[in-house]
Amino acid sequence: MIDADIGLRNLDLVMGIEKRIVFDLVEVVEGRCQLRQALIKDKRFDSLSVVPAAQTRDKQSVSEEQMTQLVAELAEWCDYVLIDCPAGIEHGFRNAIAGASEAIIVTTPEVSAIRDADRVIGKLNERNQPVRLIINRIRPDMVRMGDMMSVDDVCDILSAELLGIVPDDEEVIDTTNRGEPVVLDPTNRLALIYHKIARRLEGELVPFTNLAAPSLFERIFGTWKAG
């Protein structure tokens, strides 16, 4: 994984590896350290590593060519290189997408998020690469009441292939704050959802389950479905 949000890094916090950072992305591309020196291996999974962003530099410190080269180097021995893109569509965005061969768009069912996602999809379409969609922070009760756009509404507007549906879950805030991704907790309902997303990325056909209308019973006992 590469944290491409230079100056506003966060992937290290979310992964709980912030205290292990020695070198960063900018130092790698400037040739001041080896790529392998900057890679931080996850505490829990041997096959998961992070290239942290630099915190006290800015996005202009890295060029699109340098990012492309770095991603290519990682792709030689990694099955997946996930690049965490900064918000916006400025230099940091262009760097983040430069080396990618496909894209995952994360949006929420809000008009402003969807309009921004639409603009980003437009920019990615110019590159003729696969773009897939994760809809985050769905609140099924609000969808049912007609107070929130449904998954179908969002997909209709964005016309991109759906990769996952993630409900709004307060647990995420807590696990993120603690630096423990929710997938580590097998009892967490979001863990199942992220595993399904991973399986779809692997090429498996995993059906989406309906989360549009959980019953009161499901809501109370926490068994409402998503995908």
Partner: protein, 284 residues
């Protein structure tokens, strides 16, 4: 190319603050570092609440390429020209300003949607904010996420800053970075958004004190995480126009505090609604 570390200083020859302050409005930038924490919603609601109090308010959407303030205000169909048209002197400022449907003292200068932030000239942006300050009591600039050129352009004309932060470590860290970049200008004040007191109580969410223990800023307001904000944002009807909305009331209090009223910050609503309470019971 400007670096984030280099927010341009006051324009050369700029008169001391006190000299003209009496006749010029206040320019306030709303920023956060992190995206999706509520900058645009805050800009719309604080602006509308100040306008409801009778102040003349201009809102600038500085998120060129990813504009949203027009949607949140429900004015997207009334946009004719945009920020870059004005900066490039293609149209007079008055032709681009969109007057709000509900409060006549509220105006919006929309961003361009099909242009890039790099096309905005920082000095022209500063001059534009100066120009607006002569006619409006408040000029509120909605900053884009991040700390790139768009951020620099959003802050360049401002004298004050409102930092919007959610009780998440990533948001707090980004806010801290932005406060650092702002340096000793802008007297930043903090709004903590999307606080869920029930979660804070159970130790599952950072408290306002936790957040501000790190940021150490004067606290301007605390907002709950309520569904009506999402609904109102989607409908283009800011919550301050709903007299019964608790979040609307919290925004009105923020506006009062900005205007100088000595009013206490209301606590975010403790209950999470019937379903939330039930859910909480079963999760313990």
């Amino acid at each position: 190319m400007l670096q984030p570390q280099e927010i341009p200083q006051e324009a050369p020859g700029a008169e001391p603050q006190a000299a003209k302050a009496a006749i010029r409005g206040r320019a306030i930038v709303v920023t956060s570092g992190k995206g999706g924490v509520g900058k645009t919603t805050t800009t719309a609601n604080v602006g509308a609440a100040l306008a409801q109090r009778g102040a003349k308010v201009a809102l600038i959407d500085a998120d060129v390429g990813l504009r949203n303030l027009d949607i949140v205000l429900g004015l997207e169909n009334r946009v004719r020209y945009h920020l870059l048209d004005v900066l490039e002197s293609k149209v007079p400022l008055d032709d681009a300003l969109v007057t709000d449907k509900r409060v006549a003292t509220l105006s919006l200068l929309p961003a361009a949607q099909s242009r890039e932030k790099d096309e905005v000239d920082t000095e022209l942006m500063r001059a534009l904010v100066e120009q607006l300050r002569e006619r409006f009591d408040y000029v509120i600039v909605d900053s884009p996420a991040g700390i790139e050129k768009g951020f620099i352009n959003a802050v360049v004309g401002a004298q004050e800053a409102i930092i919007v932060c959610t009780p998440e470590v990533s948001s707090v860290r980004d806010a801290d970075r932005v406060v650092g970049l702002l340096g000793n200008r802008f007297s930043p004040q903090l709004i903590v958004n999307r606080v869920r007191p029930g979660l804070v109580k159970r130790g599952k969410m950072l408290s306002v004190d936790d957040v501000n223990g790190i940021l150490r800023l004067p606290l301007l307001g605390v907002l709950g995480d309520e569904a009506d904000v999402i609904v109102s944002t989607n409908r283009g009807e800011p919550v301050v126009f709903d007299p019964n909305s608790r979040t609307g009331n919290a925004y009105r209090t923020i506006a009062a505090r900005i205007a100088g009223d000595d009013v206490p910050i209301p606590a975010p609503p403790a209950e999470e609604g019937f379903m939330g309470k039930l859910g909480a019971l079963f999760r313990i």
